[in-house]
């Protein structure tokens, strides 16, 4: 029977959520035995948290796997995939996974599809759906050759409990460290110096629709009116209009406020991953097809530069 390999992603001794999302998706695929590949300094430590979720846990221990580093991972995976001949390999479409996937695919001469949001078995290989144009379109790809390397979007599949009690198979990667051209130095955490947006109950998120720095006072004053803190999607932070520590999304903060008001944010999945847990989401965007409206509870299709001043007038009336 063919197998689906799922690469366990962990950081600082903890298995990342995306691992359980991928294992759930792999079980639902029903295309073969689900085998988690756990590479760590000592994989016995993390293996018990994985065994319920997989038919087998391939346990690979070694100092080279202490930190994620694509070089030793790739060397080990080329050998392991060559031995196991899985029909598919699932890797997270994360900062770690995307550093590894494309070079692994080249080394294996295998096909790879990035940022997959759905996948099924096809007559030959797999059929994979993925996002394009920041979520405005979906593209369906055929992956006829095995192994199909599928890079799985984070926070897309809902992890479900399981009790498979998979066996642990120890596997020796051999020498993966010699000849290394890259070296892990350290992990740094970006410090939070000002307001911690994760602690705020009302958050106003600003996106690309703000257009120019000179428009920032408008939304700053609106946030003050309603006792909210100001947060942003990536483009606003990249432009330097708000500090990095208020960036919401997969590379910034994940927040769960009571109320999130998204102004001029189209809703790329990286942003949605960071705010979809809010109790109530209100989105204002010019584009009626903006992906933000699929996650928001309430929506207004209009220009934020018109809506916000009108809204401030209404709020002033209400308060007086």
């Amino acid at each position: 029977m063919s197998s689906i390999l799922v690469l366990v992603e962990h950081r600082q001794g903890a298995v990342r959520d995306v691992t359980f999302e991928m294992l759930t998706a792999a079980r639902k695929l029903g295309a073969g035995s689900v085998e988690a590949v756990l590479m760590a300094e000592n994989c016995d430590v993390l293996a018990p948290s994985i065994t319920p979720h997989a038919n087998k846990v391939v346990c690979v221990s070694g100092p080279a796997f202490k930190e994620f580093s694509y070089e030793p991972y790739q060397k080990a995976l080329v050998k392991l995939i060559g031995e196991k001949k899985p029909s598919a390999v699932l890797i997270a479409n994360s900062a770690f996974g995307t550093d590894l996937g494309p070079s692994l695919a080249v080394a294996l001469n295998a096909g790879l599809v990035s940022d997959a949001v759905a996948f099924t078995e096809a007559d030959s290989g797999f059929s994979v759906s993925r996002g394009m144009y920041a979520g405005k379109l979906v593209a369906d790809w055929a992956m006829p050759s095995e192994p199909a390397i599928i890079m799985v979007r984070q926070s897309n599949f809902k992890p479900e409990p399981a009790s498979l009690g998979g066996a642990v198979e120890k596997w020796d990667a051999g020498d993966v460290a010699s000849g290394a051209k890259t070296k892990f130095i350290s992990l740094e955490e970006v410090p939070t110096t000002g307001i911690d947006i994760a602690k705020a109950s009302i958050v106003v998120g600003i996106g690309r629709g703000i257009k120019e720095a000179k428009n920032m006072p408008l939304v700053q004053e609106f946030a003050q009116d309603i006792g909210a803190v100001l947060a942003a999607s990536r483009p606003v932070v990249d432009a330097g209009w708000l500090p990095k520590e208020v960036q919401v999304g997969s590379s910034g903060k994940t927040i769960k406020p009571k109320l999130y008001i998204a102004l001029g944010i189209s809703g790329a999945f990286q942003h949605i991953a960071g705010m979809k847990g809010a109790d109530t989401i209100i989105a204002v965007n010019k584009d009626p097809k903006a992906p933000i409206f699929s996650v928001a509870h309430y929506g207004i299709v209009d220009d934020l530069h018109k809506v916000v001043p009108a809204l401030r007038t209404k709020i002033k009336e209400m308060k007086s």
């Binding site: 550093d99 593209a139 369906d140 350290s186 006792g227 709020i315």
Partner: protein, 259 residues
């Protein structure tokens, strides 16, 4: 020091209405504005900073149709020394790894210390070219880099991870680095630069798919169709005139305790 930067011309769809064309495999492009891929613009800036600090030569390369020369001219205007366009006409549908094979064929007989790309293309959202190109050229790579320090024979990079973490790594050169947005401030081209760039030649090359290794004939992934996704769990839309919408939203904010 020789630095190459891979640039892609992409449609600006951030606030545009994206429609599928008759082929069902691409979008309607004639009403869209085109620009340099956002992350590539940061990669270009990183190379220009290295040009000033380390006296590096910057060479630009783009795989695409004739129009791709717009982004190459813009890069030349900002200070790059040379540019090449690899024509994509004969390539057909290809994914990021396919483009990496085309680039690798061009890079193979050239010598660069550093190759920069953007970390992701804003159109296909793939994040494949940089690491795949590195593997094809037998070089190490680092992706999603926001800070970079060039030393003799090696570089130190900071990679952006999820949740506000940075990974610090060392790589030996030559290597491929994919640049994340936000780590620098891309400059604008000067009027003088634009004038000078207009006269610079752009090398013309023909795109060739690299041969797959002997004995293997894999069928690589191919695109079936693109479509607008169904909106699931859609928002309750607040309708009316601007004044009505503002009134309803204010009432909603009051209900939620914000007023």
């Amino acid at each position: 020091m020789e630095i190459a930067v891979c640039l892609k011309r992409v449609p600006d769809t951030a606030e545009a209405d994206v429609k599928v064309d008759a082929s069902g495999k691409d979008i309607v492009r004639d009403k869209l504005a085109f620009t340099i891929n956002e992350a590539d613009n940061y990669a270009l800036e990183e190379a220009l900073l290295a040009r000033e600090k380390h006296n590096a030569n910057v060479t630009l390369v783009s795989v695409g149709a004739k129009e791709s020369e717009e982004v190459l001219r813009m890069g030349l205007a900002k200070g790059a020394a040379a540019a090449a366009r690899i024509d994509s006409a004969s390539l057909g549908d290809t994914d990021g790894i396919g483009i990496a094979r085309v680039l690798a064929a061009w890079f193979r007989d050239k010598k660069f210390d550093l190759i920069f790309t953007g970390c992701i293309a804003s159109d296909d959202g793939n994040s494949q070219v940089g690491p795949a190109l590195a593997e094809l050229l037998g070089m190490p790579h680092a992706s999603y880099v926001t800070k970079l320090d060039i030393q003799a024979g090696k570089i130190t990079v900071k990679r952006e991870l999820e949740g506000g973490f940075l990974e610090v790594k060392e790589l030996s050169t030559p290597c491929v680095v994919t640049i994340q947005t936000g780590g620098n401030t891309p400059r604008y081209a000067s009027i003088m630069g634009i004038k000078r760039a207009g006269a610079k030649p752009i090398e013309q090359a023909v795109g060739k798919q690299g041969q797959p290794p002997a004995g293997t004939v894999p069928v690589f992934p191919h695109l079936i169709k693109v479509y607008v996704p169904e909106v699931v769990g859609a928002a309750q839309m607040i309708e009316g005139t601007l004044d009505e919408k503002a009134g309803k939203m204010a009432a909603l904010l009051k209900e939620k305790g914000a007023v």
